[in-house]
Amino acid sequence: MNSTRIFSLIAGFFLYLIIQVLVLKNLVIFGTAFCFLYILYILLLPINVKTVQTLLIAFVLGMGVDLFYDTIGVHTASVLMLAFVRKRWIQAITPTGGYDDDLQPSLLNLGIGWFFIYSFPMILIHHTLFFYIENIGTNLFLSVVQKVIASAIFVFIMSIIVQLLFYSRRRGI
């Protein structure tokens, strides 16, 4: 990993965090579809980033988002789960021929079919955990399911748009 690569990863971290808490926090469609786009940062980390490192990054990112959402610990707990599962899931769905070493697992590098299989279950895991923890103690089961599904679809579509607009084919932002 060269220094420009590391720099773009660090800049991406702050960019995702700031855009999430200042802009996307207010973007809620029909009161059910939330836009937690910051998890795309964890999803798009290069494949050779180790689980331990991913966990630490996810912890800091989750804390940052929690700070502004006033949901202390909830985003952190759910994004940690995402970071923990990520590496195993990537290995489980290896396409024939395997991956390049420092490949970014993005739509542009691996195609829409692979990206859907990769990201949609991960987004679902994160959202299920988040809305479940957020609603513990209330009996709003139906509205939780509604929020999880609507938000997952919304975030998936947003992640496709963001990648097509701002990402290049081989390397980071």
């Binding site: 808490v21 200042l22 926090k25 809620v28 009161g31 939330f34 180790k50 689980t51 331990v52 966990l55 630490l56 912890f59 989750g62 804390m63 929690d66 700070l67 502004f68 959402y69 006033d70 949901t71 202390i72 610990g73 909830v74 952190t76 707990a77 940690l80 789960m81 970071a83 923990f84 590496k87 923890i133 957020e134 609603n135 103690g137 209330t138 709003l140 509205s143």
Partner: protein, 277 residues
Amino acid sequence: MQRILLFLYSLRAFLLFVFLEAVAIYMMVSFNSQQGAVFFNSSNKVSGTVLSYKNGVVEYFSLASVNKNLVDKNAELLAELERLKSPVDSIYIELDSAFMNTFQFKGAKVINNSLRFSRNHITLNKGADQGIKEGMGVFNEEGIVGRVKGVSKNFSTVISLLHTDLLISSKIKSTDVFGSTKWDGLDAKKAKLMYIPRHVDVKVGDEVVTSGYNAIFPEGIPVGTVLEVKPGLENNYLDITLDLATDFSKISYVYLVENHIETELDSLYNATGVTNE
């Protein structure tokens, strides 16, 4: 020994995951209480500063409606003032000087707000240095908004009325029957009025105001109007839906109220074993 260490090392990702997850859950449990814990929320220095910068930009878009609301409130206060000026030729008896200054009011600006979660919070641009204290009631010119959860030096976090754990002691204005207002987590415009017995005659359109029993709010701040009355499913209370007076999607300036005799009331309640929500 070495093999144990090697074994643990091979599990390091899982162990770190469990540890961080435990930290997150610990924070959730200990910081989601009703009071205190200021450092890890939006009223700490860093996030408070960022949010007030953001609000400096965004507030221009709502200036027109804010001005209109303030003018309306001013007019209302002027009318009230006119009424309260004691007439010259009547006998005016001061009932008890201890209750003259029971409530004190302060103003603040909302810099962060949410209404789509089941536990919503609001951040204000004033904190301990400006005299904000934990437990103060928050309302605006339309109606009730919430209650201060925690304060830092220059910012404070408020539990919004749109928080499924917050109960506000309220009463129906026409009949003086009292109950508790609680949000059910579904719609930011509606809440439930609980603990109204079945024999009470509640009409659609009845006005609901704060009762003044829980010593956070003075009596008579609007909470909402009755939208729907149904017999409760499994208990002796009516199932009443309120149309909230406050439009939570538009709040920008709020007032805070402090009760000077709250500590005295609380200690009295504690001494006599009365629990008051």
